[in-house]
Amino acid sequence: MDPDADKSLITRCLKGDSLAQEELYNLYAPRMYGVCLRYAKQTLEAQDILQEGFVRVFSMLRQFRFEGSFEGWLRRIFINTAITQVAKESKFTCTEELSEEITSGGDDLEGLSKLTRQEILALVQNLPPGYRAVFNLYEIEGYTHKEIARMLRISESTSKSQLYAAKRSLRVKLTEYRDV
């Protein structure tokens, strides 16, 4: 998106221009809805996150300092909203603390690269909430375990364990998917 166009649009939104607000929504809703779908188990949950996220965005718009990418700022709000929403339904705890040796093991999801986006999305959505959140944050957003631990208020080792468990679960689902 063009930063100047963003700035102009945000300025209009801050002045209470409802048309500008709708314009901003139309511009970013599809991409943010994509984020919501990754963190939610179902479409209805994703819709809730989308609504909550935009309400937060408009209420926090004054805090945007035009110092970085507006889309990046939006994405962080939606990720935080999604995490909060998912956390209401589940605890980000792992029942099994796995050894460092296991959790730092190599890549075992080569099969994913052969799937389409919709197929991967379906697999990710079927993961338990905690696994799904860590998988998204680590594999797609690119956060480190340290950052994820801070965001989810868990330990780094729990984050690693969740990721390992998510991969294991995906591998099982991938096998089932191939068999079908």
């Binding site: 929504y25 991409r31 994509g34 309400v55 991967i120």
Partner: protein
């Protein structure tokens, strides 16, 4: 780059797939968001004014001078309230054993104690209550003259307490009150006097 970060970037395929992933949101979503914003405090004029105000104070170069001025104003107010005297001049108008209830109490300021009667000015007045009581509140130090004037239906028409002379106030029979910063309350006794 740490081992963790290397691991984190092993599947560019997945990340590339989802970085720009877009999906059409449900058509009613915007209406629901708009309604939520209208229902929430975000949309209200009052809160907008408040957020505008807070935004104005956002830069520190505005906030600190404003806080300093507000602090000084507060200190000045506290000092002013502290040094401003508050006096109560109260009492009861009686004639012997009889309470004088039908009348008005007048409080005059005396500007020149050497010529009190010529220099007084009416400061406050109030009706006597059912027991003949009056209670004036003043914040100015100085000399005051108190006068009770009875109504025609009082049975003591035209009499002025505590001078007791018809339609005329005699200074040497008047009650003169000097207020100062040390006392808050002045009880004025209006004894029954004798007509001369």
């Amino acid at each position: 780059m740490s081992e963790e970060n290397i691991d984190n970037r092993q599947r560019p395929h997945i990340r590339a797939l989802f970085q720009d992933f877009e999906a059409d949101p449900p058509p009613q979503s915007w209406d629901l968001i708009r309604k939520r914003m209208e229902g929430s405090t975000w949309g209200s004029r009052e809160t907008r004014s408040l957020t505008d105000l807070l935004a104005w104070f956002g830069p520190m170069n505005r906030l600190y001078p404003t806080l300093a001025v507000a602090g000084l104003a507060l200190i000045a107010l506290v000092v002013w309230v502290g040094v401003t005297p508050s006096h109560h001049i109260r009492g009861q108008a009686v004639d012997g054993q009889e309470n004088l209830v039908r009348g008005t109490a007048y409080l005059f300021r005396v500007h020149d104690l050497h010529r009190p009667l010529d220099s007084v000015s009416l400061y406050q007045q109030q009706e006597l209550d059912s027991a003949g009581r009056f209670n004036f509140k003043t914040s100015k130090n100085g000399a005051y003259l108190l006068r009770i004037h009875l109504r025609p239906d009082s049975g003591k028409v035209g009499q002025i307490y505590h001078g007791y002379y018809d339609k005329q106030l005699h200074w040497n029979n008047a009650t003169l009150i000097h207020t100062d910063s040390l006392k808050e309350s002045y009880i004025v006794k209006m004894p029954g006097a004798f007509p001369r």
